[in-house]
């Protein structure tokens, strides 16, 4: 599930700018999809491929920054490269804080834009990979029995087999069996590996709650 080729989404109300950006990005072999407003982008289901947004801050309808918030609200974690005709410092600070990759003032050097887009795409790719890994781990974790999950979480918290057995009211040998089965299912080579995996699963889920 690596998805297709990366896609750059260009959103600008100005058709000239739109088409020229598309033209420029095409020259380095990037796939471009352009929209005349944020709304029209939101109406389209994004493809399952690494992507980034190239976005004018000042747009009719939803402004660039508002749009950035809206994306966050919808859990769309797509990197954003901002373009602006006349950006000011507070505006750029806000944009960068909200996770913008770059804030470019029009007219910009083409290399700056291409670099920003490349970083954004790489970041999205990495994000996507990480998401995929976590999803894999989660899937493995989900395949464990509830008793196996119980034992693992106790192990991760630093308890010894004997202690776990004591707490669960089972034999230590039983715990040992459950433990090795769970590690096998999780594809964990060691206890340290297992702890790392569990942290990856719990981390994002805790943040999301």
């Amino acid at each position: 599930m690596t998805g297709g080729a990366p896609v750059v989404f260009v959103i600008d109300d100005d058709p000239s700018v739109r088409s020229s950006l598309k033209f420029l990005l095409n020259t380095v072999g990037l796939q471009v999809e352009s929209f005349d407003s944020a709304d029209s982008f939101l109406h389209k289901k994004p493809p399952d491929a690494p992507g980034c947004l190239v976005l004018d801050v000042r747009m009719p309808g939803l402004s660039g920054l508002d749009f950035q918030h809206e994306l966050a609200r919808r859990h769309i974690h797509i990197p954003v490269v901002f373009l602006t005709g006349h950006g000011d410092i507070p505006m750029s600070v806000r944009a960068m804080k909200a996770g913008a990759v770059e804030f470019l003032t029009k007219p910009f050097r083409d290399q700056d834009l291409l670099d920003a887009v490349r970083i954004a795409l790489e970041r999205d790719r990495a994000r996507r990979e990480q998401e995929k890994e976590v999803a894999d781990l989660q899937r493995r974790y989900d395949s464990l029995t509830s008793r196996e999950q119980q034992v693992i979480s106790m192990l991760v918290s630093g308890m010894l087999n004997k202690q776990i057995a004591g707490q669960l009211g089972t034999a230590e040998s039983t715990v040992k069996v459950q433990r090795s089965r769970a590690m096998e299912k999780m594809h964990a080579d060691s206890l340290v590996d297992l702890v790392r995996m569990i942290e990856k699963i719990k981390g994002p889920s805790e943040k999301a709650s």
């Binding site: 109300d13 100005d14 058709p15 000239s16 700018v17 088409s19 020229s20 950006l21 033209f23 420029l24 095409n26 020259t27 380095v28 005349d36 000042r58 009719p60 373009l83 005709g85 006349h86 029009k106 007219p107 910009f108 083409d110």
Partner: protein, 745 residues
């Protein structure tokens, strides 16, 4: 006869003298009188026998008699044996020629007769006359003597002085001295005295030099030794002054009586025992006692109980020591009426000594009403004073001449000065030195003209020792003759208000500046955006081409399309820049008198391509010979272009009806030049009001500035820009511009 014997027979002091005066013989009487022997009496003896004061005269007489043959006679004092001198008449008694002897020489017998007694009587008489004369002359009365024929024999100095006679009046008659009438009156009395032979005394009035005089005249007959009347004497006593005094006294007495009887004040006299001896009619009105009823009663009946002892003690003390224990002129006391009512009085006392006894007079005034009025006034004043002292305002008053005479506590608190330092012109100390001259001048002008006074000045506030803006105002109070009698004023600290006002003004200025800046900033932002869009496109397209070229993969078709876009964007950018330039030029607009139709035609020419490409039907409705408008040509073009382009864009979506753009020029009702741009587009509907708001746009590509800028441009020219719906479709944008006097040719 023997000469010796002869001289002895003469009963006088006799001497026989030789022609040279030397003595030859002296009789016994001589010798006895002088106490000298004959021996001693021989020769020139006169020097020793006659009083030294008489010797010279004696010698003269003797010499003259010898020379002229005149009988010798003189009077001289001869010394007696005891050394006393007595007066003698010395004369030649007999000249003898001796018959015997050879010597024939003349002898003179000199007899000396003692006339001392007579001499003394004469001297006495003379003294008496001098005395009388002195009395007459120094008498304050007029004294005169007239003979039977009324001729003046004598008139004293006072007489002459009274009538201012300077000439001798002796021998003159009344007819010569007085008026005929007056003379007749005098003479009538004279006759009466002559006829009756009796003195008379009467009072008459005679005109003197200095006016009429009243006199008492006494005339009396003067008798001679034979009992006959030989003259009339007169003594006149001038009683004019006495008469006047008497009259004045009588008048005065009458007046006092009248005053006492008609006085509103009670007048009560008491004796040394404080017993009432007199009470005037007013006493009954004031005290309720009949005046006669009071006589003989102690004064204390007119006093309330608590004063009686005090009076008695005080009165006694005064009689004993002469020390007054109350003010005798206008002391306020409490008095008691007959009916027992107490009331306030003002009493003054007088004291008179009569036959060694003191009489005291009291003048008693009922001041009940005055007291009530005073109390009321005091209460009113107190209220007013409380008001002025508690009112949270600074108040003051000034004399008619502008000198401050009162400041309320607020002023004193504010300035921190004691009242006496603010009074007069002391208030000037508190005024800021930059304001003091003008303020003093304004005050002087107000005081001299009576105009209401008002002046803003900086006043030194004691609390924080700072000068604060205050306003002082005053109005004059006038009497019924419109004369200013006082000024009343207030001082208001308007520093905070003034500062607030200042701050408000600053805020407004700041607001205006900020809003202008904001507008400019927003404008700059939008302009940057507007310009950057085509520039970005140009840059992107160019860069893309360069990259393809570097990769040797630039196909001519791609390049052509890119270049087309680059040209279009370049054009667009320059259009924006033209707009910006026009807008920037807005500030110093270069206004000229323009024919509006000509400007419209220019703009239509500019928009020609757009009109053609969008298949717009243009309808010109120009009014010929319109007045000129005073406008900046470029700005006016901007406005027109904006409206026309808006109209065109509004109709791009219209497919089911003609795209009609109407441009009209005419004079409106108020005489302004009106231009209307009418489209048959989609219309503005509910948005009509918002289209002039900056950055509001109905167009996908609009910036939202055009109409906003257009409106400000029109308004800067003194016109209006507004929108109305077109019928049946679209909108009409109209603007007016004031017409210049003339009209276009």
């Amino acid at each position: 006869m023997d000469l010796r014997n002869l001289i002895e027979t003469i009963p006088a002091l006799v001497l026989c003298a030789l022609p040279d005066g030397s003595v030859e013989l002296a009789n016994r009487a001589w010798q006895e009188y002088t106490g000298s022997s004959l021996q001693q009496l021989s020769g020139w003896v006169w020097q020793t026998t006659i009083h030294p004061g008489d010797v010279a005269k004696f010698i003269d007489e003797w010499t003259m008699a010898s020379a002229g043959g005149k009988p010798f006679q003189t009077e001289a004092r001869i010394r007696r044996a005891d050394g006393q001198y007595r007066w003698f008449l010395i004369r030649k008694a007999l000249a003898v020629t001796p018959t015997r002897g050879r010597e024939s020489s003349l002898r003179t017998l000199i007899a000396c007769e003692d006339i001392h007694e007579r001499k003394e009587a004469e001297a006495k008489l003379q003294d008496s006359e001098i005395l009388l004369q002195a009395f007459f002359e120094n008498s304050p009365n007029l004294i005169f003597v007239k003979d039977r024929q009324s001729r003046y024999l004598y008139a004293n100095k006072e007489f002459k002085k009274a009538f201012h006679f300077t000439d001798e009046i002796k021998g003159k008659t009344d007819d010569e001295l007085f008026s005929a009438e007056q003379a007749a009156a005098f003479q009538a009395v004279d006759r009466q005295v002559l006829e009756a032979g009796l003195p008379t005394k009467f009072e008459d009035v005679v005109l003197y030099e200095d006016g009429q005089h009243t006199r008492i005249v006494q005339k009396f007959p003067l008798f001679n030794a034979f009992g006959e009347i030989y003259a009339i004497g007169g003594v006149v006593i001038d009683i004019t002054e006495r008469k006047q005094e008497e009259s004045a006294r009588r008048y005065s007495e009458e007046r006092y009586r009248l005053v006492l009887e008609t006085a509103n004040d009670a007048v009560v006299c008491i004796d040394e025992s404080s017993i009432i001896s007199f009470a005037n009619p007013a006493t009954s009105r004031i005290f309720g006692y009949d005046p006669t009823e009071l006589t003989g009663k102690p004064l204390t009946v007119l006093m309330p109980e608590f004063l009686r002892k005090l009076h008695e003690n005080g009165f006694r003390r005064y009689l004993a020591t002469g020390q007054r224990h109350i003010n005798w002129q206008g002391t306020e006391l409490t008095a008691l009426r007959k009916n027992g009512q107490e009331f306030p009085v003002e009493v003054s006392f007088g004291e008179l000594a009569r036959d060694g006894h003191k009489v005291f007079t009291g003048f008693i005034r009922d001041i009940s009403e005055r007291k009530q009025a005073e109390d009321k006034l005091r209460a009113s004043e107190r209220t007013l004073r409380q008001l002025t002292e508690t009112i949270p305002q600074m108040l003051w008053s000034a004399e008619a001449d502008g000198a401050i005479d009162y400041c309320n506590q607020r002023v004193l608190d504010y300035t921190g000065l004691p009242a006496e330092q603010v009074h007069g012109a002391g208030w000037m100390k508190t005024v800021h030195q930059d304001d003091i001259d003008k303020m003093a001048q304004a005050w002087t002008v107000a005081v001299s003209t009576g105009e209401p006074f008002q002046y803003e000045f900086r006043c030194l506030r004691a609390a924080d020792h700072t000068y604060r803006w205050c306003i002082s105002s005053a109005l004059p109070l006038r009497d019924q003759n419109r004369r200013i009698i006082k000024w009343f004023g207030s001082v208001i600290d308007l520093h905070d208000w003034k500062e607030a006002q200042q701050a408000l003004r600053m805020t407004q200025v700041e607001l205006a500046r900020v809003s202008r800046l904001t507008t400019m900033g927003e404008l700059a932002a939008s302009i940057a955006h507007e310009v950057n869009q085509p520039l970005t496109a140009v840059t992107n397209n160019s860069n893309a081409c360069l990259r393809l070229l570097a990769n040797r993969s630039l196909e001519p078709e791609v390049l052509r399309r890119a270049l087309q876009e680059i040209v279009a964007d370049g054009t667009r950018a320059s259009a924006v820049i033209a707009r910006i330039r026009a807008f920037i030029k807005k500030a110093p607009a270069e206004k000229n008198e323009l024919p509006i139709n000509e400007v419209i035609e220019e703009v239509l020419a500019l928009a020609g391509r757009e009109l053609y490409e969008n298949r717009i039907l243009l309808e010109r409705q120009f009014t010929a010979a319109l007045p000129l408008v005073l406008a900046d040509r470029v700005q006016l073009q901007q406005v027109l272009l904006n409206l026309i382009m808006n109209g065109i864009e509004a109709m791009t979506a219209v497919t089911n009806r003609p795209r009609l753009l109407g441009v009209q020029s005419r004079i409106d009702e108020s005489g302004d030049v009106l231009v209307a741009v009418r489209d048959s587009g989609t219309g503005l509907g509910l948005e009509a009001d918002r289209v002039f708001t900056p950055f509001f746009t109905t167009k996908a590509n609009g910036m939202g500035m055009g109409l906003s800028i257009s409106r400000s441009l029109v308004e800067n020219h003194g016109g209006r820009l507004w929108v109305t719906p077109n019928s049946p479709h679209g909108a009409v944008f109209s603007f007016t511009l004031p017409a210049v006097g003339g009209s276009a040719a």
